[in-house]
Structure formats: structure tokens, C-alpha cells
Symmetry: none
């Protein structure tokens, strides 16, 4: 079982970590088409200060939900950041609920309203009366100027807690956080800095990775280790806190080097890189070139290999050959080979790889044939059956896969397996 | 400005809405790089049942936060959906906290463990002992089968409340919700059905679409109309509530037919289809075939065209030709044409399209050449300059684009423009 950030924290009371919570307010954030992105930017800011995010909550214009969430957060967490719900046309629940829960009555600030009125006048517009509520601020709070919009932000210190109420639009929220909230949080974090490194692993399941590396990471609480499944790969996240970033990196290095040794060639990325980034870099470094001949993946492997800037250095040519005729015409796969073994066979995969290697003059040729479904499967050759062929100057070889999932997943897994096969065979 | 779902709701107070909350569990969802996307899919499902999302909360492996959140939700909301935190290597806080808060002790189910063991054995793997905790289920709960993974889901009825505990991976969570949770929620939603239709538009901006169709949608509050920007396209969402789905569809039809007339050939999808789905369907219906020759998109257009089941009916061949040599060798683009006009030129785009059409025998040949960046741009030919060539039996033509954004965005926009050009020219 992987340790989590929180557990680590429990074992290190000396470097008592600072937690934060984010509350995003706005009914539009509860629709199927929108998601809160302010919290991602804020999380990055918090982490760089050594502050860990403990919970984030998205509420609509719903006083009960906001009140419950705020009360819970105040009981357990020192830093509370809230975004949104300060606009003039919205229900003014943010100011009202914060004032009520914190028992600080709202005070009208004529100077805020004057500023908003001037802002409108300078644009040749008339201020609407509902802007008046933007001049209400809880008692004994700091007013945070907003040069990019009408609503000022609000900063409240509640004993040792810091509560920042920020506007929703990123171009208003971000400078306000940077200028007025970050300086308040910096001294709280006790000078601690947080750094994270992501190792990525192919060809192993989550539990297998855990069993292999647990003897290493269990001896450390800083960095904390988390093991995650991400689409097709396993990720190992190492997160350390220390007085400086360099020291946090050193703590991570100590564990990473041991974890990397255990994982061996299953580890493909030391810094969170994607598999195509790793393959691209190593092909370039070794001066190898590659060409692809794809049937069931339909160009996906080529698209991933060319998604990297500078891909013309190593990617020579790709062919998408669905039909038997195209395999013969474009790649020179013998028609009788297809007739004898079928288009989805190790022989055809190898012949496709050989064909594209010879035509392109690449160091490595990759050929992929398989049944992505949903149709086309038989008892002997089911949906998910895939052959990956590899050809180089020495010879050809292939790998057989039986992959789970729907068409999209089979195609993705096939592209991942093909890239990983190239990596393991030529790029270690 | 487009109406939102909430505004519509205010105009229909007679339909007392059923609320839901979503709790997403997992420390990785509290990092700067990951966001919870399960809740977006679930929100769409809930809305289609006439259920409104009231709050969503993202917690890490933190028992206190999960417990507080769950207790609050139980006090105020009838439907609670939770995702994640059921994996074998994670802290088992999901099962433990739900069991504790709902006062239902965890019971070990040997039949669940047997199934997981068989699943591992069928893949030639050995089950790790930590999978045992996946066989723990709170007392008096329903076990929801998971054909796509190890962890079963859990459904708990608590007086008139429904609590569903689902796994995190979308391909496990989504079928489980559809098969076992949705049927339980359907009778709760008070007979009101919500239906949504998504129209998709290419080649127009958000305000242009709004100006064009506002005179239509402003006359209706049911369906509500929302205009959204989605990656490269504008979407028009029409959302209606009615006692039956047929009646809601009829309300949508009335507005949709008028909006569609206004949008004309800029409208490419009547039911939220992707552009490749529309192109695939229409190519198939017309009996046309297509072949692609790609430079800067590196196989992305082929990959999108073959992402549709049955693509072998219309997709004949794809070539990814980065180098000038490959363009000449594979597509027969004359070397002196490249020398005279440059690889990124209308002449070469048309010659690539002609070349792949002739070699493949397809009805339509598409050739794409451009500068995706970040390097390779000049003053005359900047990053983002793209030519799309089209060839058929009658002749060839091209379109010039200057696209904004980074490499990934330029590649995507190019693939979208190429597919849309084919649609407008051959498939209306």
C-alpha cells in the first residue's frame, strides 16, 4: 500500500505541514460542461509554498452547502481560499455566508463603491444599482484591490487562520493572489518548500509495482510515495518538503535512485515524461530513425511520434494500410502471405515492419496489425488480438498481445505497447 | 447572452428538483495536474434524469475530510455518488468511512475475492494479498458487479436516500452507473425528464453564432439554450424538461429546426456527433472512399478517420511523409515542385493530395503540409501556416490557413479544418 501525503504528515509532527482548502462558488461549475480550473493554478501556488491541498469543494449559489463546507473547513484547516460568487449579478451568497459563519457583520464601504462608479464612468457606462453589494465587506477584514474588475477581494485573519475570498475570473483572481495573499502565506509555511517527482512505469500492474518498491519507500516518510494508475501506465509520485527546493530534491533523489533500480527497465520516465517524449529523445540521441506501418491503429503511432517538436529528425515515414491491397502495394507484403496466414498474423506484422523499413531506409520499422473491434473478431482471432512487428538491419521479430477494452482503448494500448517495445529493444 | 440551466429552473418552480452530490476521492485529484472528470459525465447522467447537482467535493485519502463531507451530504441531499478510493493499493478510506458514518460494519464476501482471484489467474497473474480488502462491503448493501476491473461497487439505501460508491476508472465507473445506479434513480426523479441536444457548428465564433440564433431561442425558456466553446467548435445546447422524454424531445425539436435553418451548412452535427463521426457516416452513405497524405499532422487525420468502427469501408490508405524524399518517393510529388515552391506551399499540398488519391484509387485524396512549430517558422512562412490540398476525379484545390496556438493546437485545428473541408465540399 502506498503512503499518502497525509500519512507522511502524521509521521512528521516536527515539520507540521500547512494544509489549505479551496472552495469554488458558482452554479456554472456544477454543469456537465464546465470545470473549476482556478483550483489547479492555486494548488500549484500553494504547493510551491509547501502547503498541501486537503480538500476542494465546488458549491452552487446554495447557502446551506457553502455554510456547511465553510464550517467544516474552519474546524480543521488553517488556510481557506475561496473563488467566485462576488459578481454583481450573482446571488451574493459569498459575502453573506462568510460574514454569518465568521460572525463579522457586513460593513458598507463608500470608497469601494466610488471606485466602481468611476470605473463604469471611465468606460462611458452607468453603474447598475446592484453593484452596491460589491461594497460590502465583513468587519475587520482587509480589502484586496482588484485592478482588473469591479469586485475587490477580502482577506480575513481568524486567530491563526487565513481566509481569502477572491473573485472568479482568473485574470482578476491570479494577480490578487500573487500580490496580496501569497505574501501573507509565505511566513506561515515556516519556510518549507514542496517538490514532487513522477516516475512512470510500463508493463507492470499497480500491485506488482507496489510489492516491488514498498521495501524502499516504507523506510521514508519524506518524500511521501503515492502509486497511481494513469490511463495505461503506473505512476510513482515522490513528494518531499524541505527548507529549500534543492534540499527537497536531494531527499527525493535518495529514494528515487533506489526505486529506479528496483524497477529496472520497466521504468520509462524519471521526470513524468510521456512515452513518446522518452522514445523521441532517445531516438534523437542515438541517431536512430523510425518508420511505421499501421493497420488497426490507423496512424495513431505516427501521430504520437510526431507530436514532439523536432520529430522530423527521427520520424521518416508512416503508412496507414487498412486493406490487404494497400499492404501489398504500399509495403510489399506478399499477397500469398496474407492469403496463407491472414492479415492479422505474426507473419504479416513482421512483413509490414520489414516493408516500411526498406522503403523508408529507417533504422527501425514498426508494423502493427490487429482487430480493434467492435466487429471483425472470430473465435480464433478475437477482438483485441494484435501483432506488433519490428524490423531492423539484423532481422525481424514480433510480439503478440490480447488487449481488453473497447476500440479506442485497444488502439491506445496497442500504440503504447509498440512504443514500449521499441524503447526496450533499442533505447535502453 | 445565453440562458443557463439554473435560470430555466427558476421559471419552473412547480417541478421541485431532486438534488445530488458527488464526492470524488483520491489524493491525485488534489494535485495541480489532475482534475476530476468523472463528475462531468455523472452530472450529464444526473441532469438527464432531471436531477440537479448541488455540490461536488474532492477529498484526498483523508478520513476527517471524507467523514465531514459525507455527514453534511447525508443531512441535506437525497442522492450521493462517490467515485474512487476502492483500489487495492490505496488507503481503504472509502469503505471504512462510509461504513462508520452509516453505522454498517464491513462484511467480508469470499465470493468477491474468488472472482478477483480468477480474474488474475485468467491473465496468468497471481493475486496480491492486498486485494482482499476489495472483498469488504458494508452490511445490507448491494454489491455492484465490475466486469472491467477488480473492485465491485456498492449501493446503499438509507431511508429515502441512495448512496452509490463507484470505482474511479471511467471505464469501470460508467457501465456500473448505467447498469445498476441509473435504474435505481429513475423512479425517484418525480416523473420529470430532462433531455438535452447538442448542435455543433464549425467555421463561426461564439458571438456570431449567438447573434444569428438569439432571435430564435430568446422566444423560449423550455428548452433553455446555452452556447459553449468546446476546444475548436461552438456548441449549442438545447435542454428541455417535460413529463416524458418524447415531450421534452418535441419541445427541443421546435427550437432546433429553426436554429438549424439559421446555421445552414455551418452546422455539422445535429446530435452532438464529432466531426469524424459525421464525415465517416456520410462517406459510407455516399459510397465514397478517402486517402490521406500528411506532413505536419503526422497521421492525426488518419487516426481520427479510423477511430470509427467500420472505417475500412471508406478509409483506403494513409501516408505520413515528413521529409521531401518521402513526399517524392511515396506520393510522387515532383522534386522540382518542392524545390521551386517549398515543402509548405499550395502546389505541394495539392500534389500530395493528387498523389495519394492516384496511388490508393480513393474518391477523395487529402494532402496536408504546414509548420506546426515551435521551430521551422520564417517571416514569410510563419508557424501556423498550413495548406490543405484536396483531389478528386475532376481536379485539385487547396485551402490556406494561418492557425494560432502551440504545436498540439495547430495540429488539431489542421485536422479539424481538413475534415470540415471534405464535409463541405463532398458531403452536404
Amino acid at each position: 500500500m502506498a503512503l499518502t501525503l497525509n500519512e507522511t504528515r502524521k509521521t512528521k509532527p516536527d515539520s507540521a505541514p500547512l494544509h489549505a482548502e479551496i472552495i469554488a462558488i458558482g452554479s456554472e461549475l456544477l454543469t456537465p460542461n464546465r470545470t473549476d480550473t482556478n483550483s489547479l493554478w492555486l494548488t500549484q501556488q500553494l504547493n510551491s509554498l509547501g502547503i498541501t491541498l486537503r480538500q476542494k469543494t465546488i458549491v452552487g449559489d446554495d447557502e446551506q452547502c457553502l455554510e456547511d463546507t465553510l464550517r467544516d473547513a474552519l474546524k480543521r484547516t488553517r488556510v481557506i481560499l475561496s473563488t467566485g460568487g462576488l459578481g454583481p449579478t450573482e446571488d451574493d451568497i459569498t459575502r453573506k455566508v462568510y460574514a454569518r459563519v465568521l460572525r463579522r457583520p457586513l460593513v458598507f464601504h463608500p470608497e469601494i463603491l466610488d471606485r466602481i462608479r468611476h470605473l463604469f464612468e471611465s468606460r462611458g457606462m452607468k453603474m447598475s444599482p446592484n453593484n452596491e453589494r460589491q461594497a460590502l465587506v465583513p468587519q475587520d477584514a482587509e480589502i484586496l484591490p482588484n485592478p482588473n474588475g469591479t469586485a475587490p477581494g477580502i482577506l480575513i485573519r481568524n486567530q491563526d487562520q487565513v481566509i481569502a475570498i477572491l473573485p472568479g475570473p482568473p485574470r482578476e483572481m491570479q494577480p490578487m493572489f500573487t500580490n496580496y495573499v501569497r505574501p501573507v502565506l509565505e511566513p506561515l509555511s515556516g519556510g518549507l518548500r514542496l517538490r514532487q517527482r513522477i516516475l512512470r512505469v510500463s508493463g507492470m500492474g499497480e500491485s506488482a509495482v507496489d510489492n516491488l518498491i514498498a521495501p524502499v519507500y516504507q523506510r521514508y516518510t519524506n518524500p511521501a510515495t503515492t502509486i497511481l494508475f494513469n490511463k495505461t501506465d503506473i505512476e510513482v509520485h515522490l513528494t518531499a518538503t524541505a527548507p529549500t527546493e534543492a534540499e527537497a530534491d536531494r531527499l527525493i533523489d535518495e529514494v528515487a535512485v533506489q526505486v529506479e533500480e528496483k524497477l529496472g527497465e520497466n521504468l520509462f520516465a524519471h521526470q513524468g515524461e510521456t512515452l513518446e517524449q522518452v522514445v523521441a529523445l532517445k531516438l534523437t540521441v542515438k541517431g536512430y530513425t523510425i518508420a511505421t506501418a499501421e493497420s488497426c491503429t490507423g496512424g495513431l503511432i505516427a501521430a504520437r511520434l510526431t507530436d514532439i517538436p523536432g520529430s522530423s529528425k527521427y520520424f521518416l515515414q508512416g503508412a496507414v494500410t487498412y486493406s490487404n491491397e494497400a499492404k501489398t502495394q504500399v509495403l510489399g507484403v506478399p499477397a500469398d502471405l496474407i492469403a496463407t496466414h491472414g492479415a492479422v498474423s505474426p507473419e504479416v506484422a513482421e512483413s509490414m515492419a520489414r516493408g516500411i523499413k526498406e522503403r523508408s531506409g529507417a533504422t527501425i520499422g514498426v508494423g502493427v496489425t490487429g482487430i480493434a473491434g467492435p466487429d471483425g473478431g472470430t473465435t480464433e482471432k478475437p477482438v483485441g488480438l494484435v501483432y506488433i512487428g519490428i524490423a531492423d538491419d539484423v532481422g525481424t521479430t514480433h510480439r503478440k498481445l490480447i488487449l481488453p477494452g473497447d476500440r479506442e482503448r485497444i488502439r491506445w494500448l496497442t500504440s503504447q505497447a509498440a512504443l514500449d517495445l521499441v524503447r526496450r529493444r533499442y533505447l535502453l
